[in-house]
């Protein structure tokens, strides 16, 4: 019997979690970084679409935790814990952080590399190993994670779709 798989969509500066057989997807990552945290055995995963490296950059009081690498990864881990996932069993796959344009203020030009660095630092701090990554470059990416296979598929405009 064929069952239609539902795809959970995650917008920019947003996060969500998924259980098999559903998959989870975010579209049009440029300088943003998509972070997948998953438990291979429980077949549960979370996806976060990070826009900025550090919540100390926020200029207003209340913040959207999913916008920043530091607050977002921690927040996603907490969401997964509510589903009974142990932080020890989490692994990560990451994609994005492109340098789309070569101008702007110096902070903005390097936003892609800075996002990648911040994501890696936070994952290291939380002792979550990065199993695979597709970061940098100058192309946008659409990514989809399948918790039943732990594979992350990445589509770019010029290179088609690859799986990591």
């Amino acid at each position: 019997m064929v069952t239609l798989k539902e795809v959970i969509r995650v917008g920019i500066a947003d996060m969500n979690i998924v259980k098999e057989p559903e998959t989870i997807r975010t579209s049009g990552l440029g300088s943003c970084v998509g972070v997948v945290l998953y438990d291979q055995h429980k077949k549960i995963a979370g996806l976060l679409h990070v826009m900025l490296p550090d919540s100390s950059l926020a200029k207003n009081g209340s913040i959207n935790v999913a916008k920043f690498a530091d607050t977002g990864i921690y927040g996603l881990m907490e969401l997964l814990k509510l589903e009974g996932v142990r932080p020890m069993s989490l692994k990560a796959k990451i994609a994005g952080g492109a340098q789309m344009f070569q101008f702007g203020s110096s902070d903005t030009i390097r936003i892609g590399p800075r996002n990648i660095e911040a994501v890696k630092n936070e994952l290291k701090r939380l002792s979550i190993p990065i199993v695979a990554e597709d970061v940098g470059g100058s192309s946008g990416r659409t990514i989809e994670f399948d918790p039943s296979t732990s594979m992350l598929s990445i589509r770019t405009v010029n290179k088609g779709t690859v799986e990591i």
Partner: protein, 210 residues
């Protein structure tokens, strides 16, 4: 949204007028370039989420040709001129007289890229000089840069500055299109002007509505 002052209907009218004057001037320039009549829609001013901004430009995953520049000077912000791939192709084909030019099959010819960049220069230059004349503000645009990629990847870059203080953005959106003879062969594109939140006061003051 962290604006210092509440945005009223009168403020929205002022922002619409900016779209009107800027895009009107750019439409005239485009019309001269193509020697065709160019129509302009009534500008829309919306307060949208970042995802909503992508939707206005065709959806996060849609592939477009986007010309992007930053504005500096008395006011700061981001500006985009976004064309569907089909519209960009038709435009370049007309401009360089080469019907084989196609943004779907890279690498692109140098003359095609340079024509697209020139389109960006002329349209953004005429939009912003009209805006500068109208407001009396000094506006320094960066050199426009061309990206052919997913809407989300291109447009999010122009939201970085705004995202430090907000999760929503006010966008002045003006659509222009070539008047088509048979309804199929038309070029249409959108101007998106996204002033940084810190610049609203400057705009409203310059036009005497604050």
């Amino acid at each position: 949204m962290s604006f210092d002052t509440p945005i009223t209907d009168m403020h929205l009218d002022v922002l619409r007028e900016i779209g009107n004057i800027g895009a009107g001037n750019a439409a005239t320039a485009l019309s001269q370039m193509l020697d065709r009549k160019i129509d302009m829609r009534v500008p829309k001013v919306d307060l949208v989420s970042f995802e909503g901004m992508f939707d206005l430009a065709g959806g996060a995953e849609e592939i477009v040709a986007g010309i992007f520049l930053r504005i500096e000077g008395d006011l700061s912000g981001s500006m985009f001129f976004v064309l569907s791939i089909e519209s960009a192709n038709r435009f370049i084909q007309k401009l360089i007289g080469d019907i084989t030019f196609d943004f779907n099959s890279p690498p692109f010819s140098e003359i095609g890229i340079s024509a697209m960049q020139e389109l960006g220069n002329i349209l953004s230059g005429s939009y912003l000089s009209a805006l500068s004349d109208f407001t009396g503000l000094k506006i320094y645009p960066t050199v426009p840069s061309l990206g052919v990629d997913m809407v989300g990847a291109i447009v999010s870059f122009g939201l970085i500055e705004i995202s430090h203080s907000s999760d929503e953005v006010i966008v002045i959106n003006t659509e222009i299109s070539e008047e088509s003879t048979n309804g199929t062969e038309s070029i249409n594109g959108h101007f998106f002007l996204l002033p940084d939140p810190s610049s609203y006061k400057t705009i409203f003051k310059s036009l005497g509505v604050m």
